[in-house]
Amino acid sequence: MLNYLIKRLLLMGVTLFGITLITFVATRLTPGDPAAAGIQPGSSGRGAQAVGYEDLVEQNRRNLGLDKPLLINTNFEDREFAAERAIDDLFKSQPMWQKIGEKTLARTNTIALKAALDRYPLIGTPQEPLPKDSRGRNMKARPVEERKAVLASWFPKLALETNLGQGLAPDASYEFWSAWYEANKARYGEERVEQVVQAYLSGSAPLDEVRTAGGFAVPALIAALGNERTSRLANDGLSAITTFNFLTNPDSWDAERSRILERWRSYYSREQVRYSTYGPVRHGLNILLNTQYGIWVKQTVTFDFGESYREKRPVREMIAERLPISFSLSVASIIFSYLLSIPIGIFSAVKRYSAPDRVITVILFLLYSLPSFWVATMLILTTTGGPNFPELFPTRGLNSPEFVDSDWTLDMLRDRIWHMVLPVTVLTYGSLAFISRQMRSAMLETIKQDFVRTAQAKGLAEHVVIFKHALRNSLIPIITISAGILPELIAGAIIVESIFTIRGMGTLTLDSIVNRDYPVINAVLFFSALLTLLGILVADILYAVVDPRISYE
């Protein structure tokens, strides 16, 4: 049994992995761009002139990490990649992109110098890589002359040498700065940067010395932040290079230190890619990990589903809020349907083809064929008051307003149960018909068996035959169904929760799908998959418990 359990649990892991792959592929292949969800062009009949809709969507994609390739990422995303992307942004015709590019270049400065010098001679030639969006479509670029002029104007700023080479035409400026770079590139060498930073931190070199290394010195300076002795110097160096100033008042370093360090760390952990270069191992791993699917799997494995695009809070928190609500409804509904349908099933099996059996059968089939949204609406129309009907139950929610934030008291519980009557009824009646029919046929099957006839022949009382001998054997198919009921209840809850305005998993599923809220869809599907698998596992274990003939050794 234990071996079997372990084997099953391991298989569950593999199945879940497969499910993540399927849900991932399915969500990405569905038309409809989640990055476009918040942008509603044209609903008001004005605006949308200076920025194209596509630019805004592209920007959103980048913010949400949807610009990464789906499964395989062959862009070795490191500082060279980031520098080239910043130059691309600078070349786009929308001021919005230009500003983003300018800010990145100002922060990484020297790192982008080589990329800029390499790019310049390509401008206007057929080899020039023109700006593209993350789906490979061309974006509007600035005219050639403008691209040349703007890139040339960045050379001194990237070299952090604003006094040199002023007043030159773009081409002459390029000549000047390539010569300068050839003569000075030694200062960006790894060892030399390390030396300069160490010298600066030990107090033997001035700040200007570190500045010459620019963005290349950032990783070393970030590392030095942790050391109490050097953290102030490191902060000043970083501020000089990146133009950030987190210190609001030069004299209050001690008071603000921990906050400032936190700021630098969060900046660096986010923007590390702009400053670092990786070895082949890391690049190799990133081919698979630095993709949308890589991130998706990482989230699933760590149970950290990220943040909802829409609600901007951890998905885990949202699920934790909603799961107990749906769960209480489902559990109540399962209990009621079993409590009712097993006796009904037994009754109709024992009294088969009698008038009561036929009546029950007809009623159950009627119930089974009624769609739940219709029944829910009818119940609301006839049992919740109004001019022509009695007010028996509330129309919506799980608690009256006065009990919403209340603790678990007797009154609150009563109120809760009163609210749950209608939704649980709607969730229950369908499975009631289904399970009792199953129960009936299982019972009939069992009653025909030889051992039942033997028991009857022995002269045992009818109820002993039914309840002691037949019942346990006929429960097996019912248990199989139970595995399927859990996920089915979540699906059914979508309708019931929407109609009764209950904030459970059902409404969450619906909302997240309508809004293309990928992290939430991922989590919801993952949880339903998990519940289904758990249901099957539990059913398997119950088999063994109910039927001594079945064992998993």
């Binding site: 959103n60 700021r263 900046y267 919740t384 929610g397 307003p401």
Partner: protein, 747 residues
Amino acid sequence: MIRTAPNPAPSLRALHAAAAIAAIALAPLAASAESSSSPNTAKSAPDSPFAKYLRTPIQDEFNEDVLAGDVGEPRRGGIVRMRTKVDFQEMNPITVTGQPERVVLNHASDALVDRDVSTYEEFPALAWHWRTADTLKPADGELQIGRIVSRDDAAGTITFVPGAWTAAYAQFDIANLDELTHGEIGTVRLRDGLEAKTTTGRIRLMPNTVVVDGVADPAFADATVTYKFTDLAVWKDEVSKSDRPFIKPYCAFEFAIRDGVTWHDGQPFTAEDVKFTYDVILNPYVDAAHLRNYYQDMQTSEVIDDGKGIRVVWGRPYFEVLSFVAGARHWLPKHVFNPEQFGGDDKAFGDSFNKHPFREKPVLTGPYKFKEWRKGQSLSLERNEDYWASKLPDGAVVNWRKQQPYLDGLTWVIIGDNNTAVRELEKQALDGDDGVEQDIWFSDATNTDSFKNTMTRLQNLGFGYVYIGWNLMNPIFKDKETRHALSMLVPAEEIAQRLHFGLAKPVSGPLYINGPGYDPSVEPAKYDPDKAKRLLRKAGWADRDKDGILEKNIDGVETPFRFSYMIHTAKDYHSKMADIVKERIGQAGIDVTISKLDWTIFSDTVRDKKFDAVRFAWSNTLDPDPYQIFHSSQIENRGDNFVSFRNARVDELCEKLREEFNPEKRWEMAREIHRIIAEEQPYCFLFAFYETYFFHRNLQGIKVYPSMYPTNLNEWYWAKEPPPGAMTDTWKASTAALAAPTHGKGG
């Protein structure tokens, strides 16, 4: 803990005291006097140019009690519980995109410069005064702010007055209003303490405000500068790809921030907050792409006058700029977000801003403040007892009286199911529903006597219109006659009657049917299959192979008249209409297939132009601006001109219209656009919908305006006893204070 608000400016305090005496008397007010109760309204204020297009707002005309003269008096107290269909997404006014959220926020926030919904005139709100000017840039100099006096194209010169502005003040704030005459030069003197500056210029008296054109100020007579065109920098218009000459009219703005305005947490509202809001919108990492769109042309914004004012320079002339810069109700309290700690790290700030708890419980300046948001259940606002406008005398702020807002609180109850909502209305557990579906409107439950006795029913013609768009890239829709014929085959009138129960009005063009841009001389297309068939024959369509479907030789290819009609599945009546369209167009020998798509996929497909014909709808504004939908630049880049309509004259008019500041001239252009588009028929224009509402009968003061936000709960009050769930002690107290006897329960 709410701090008491700092005292208003000294002079206002004096006025305040004077008005307090009047407030005690609380004289009964006729509802019609509401918008003009200012103590010194100018004697001869000319009408707003919008006046003839603004139907008087519906003023309880739907309510039999009102018609019987039984309106009751405005009194404070009670709450109103409105229905909303889905839970709100968030309440941060910058990042929120939904219309229902905006309705809530409108009651909790203010604009710098607001618009009087009954005259469409701008009036000072959070900014007590503002001014506008033109900008000009010499070829080799700095940008200059001032006004253009004249332009001589023959001589190639422009005369400019650096430093001159056109200023606007609330009538109430002008001390010498009686001395001013419309159209003449005069000097405006402000009430004591309001900033003792005076402005001289040509006076324009408006119903709510006084505009002073400073160019006419004699003091500027010697200051004029004459520039040659050749000395001025030409500005390049990225969008229309043309060079524009020299000046940008109405591109500089200054706003003077009102003293004594406080945020809901008691902190003062300052120009720094306004500047901060602009910066937040322009931060690329803030989830405000929808707003950033409008602010791309903002060149600079700076705090001036020691933090009492803000100056904005815009990059492109556009008649709507003032409403972008100052008309929005989305200002943010800088102190809540503490942006300094991010030291310029835009991304870190953006991330923190997007998920700041502010999105659940914002701190704003408006008449209501946030009380509680029970996710999935309800959202409540409560009256802001420190509301700045309620501390000013009646009339100081247009359309605002001291005892407003009357209601103690507003609650939006989230009820997804329409039948549940009707049930709650019947039980008087809801006081209103402003988004009633057409089938609910006509359902038995809402037409019983008992329902009508507790609820008033109201309909109002909405801003939007429904149409079928023909993809003009598809060769079968290429010629105009075919499109006209198709429009004649769609029985708009019959669909309006049969599917929408008459709650729809046929339209002939793309602009708001009661607005200034709609040319009423253009008739909506009439259903006329015979004429349509003749037109189709004329256009070269004939059933040559006798298969029952028309063919035409298009560019050498024999093309059958066959297309797919795309709809989305959000509403039931879309499919029903599709069936009618298929049948009627089919009768003329055209094969229509219906394709139904889910909304997100639908909108993507439309943007990718992968459709033949599509049923869609646009919303409008009162002041028309068809650029976004019909200018040819909006075809590319997945723009809104997805039918690929291209017309040189319409392009030209759309561009000119945006830069025309004279409303009459602008609307003349809009009407010409309407005529051209009706003639070209890129769409089959169908109808505008009526919006339908239910309100509790005891509620009064309800008006419905021709606006994106037709109702304003700040004006509502319980004239008779509210239902138990909406009753508060304040209502009982204010009713007792009124000498008039209280009315019994309505109905």
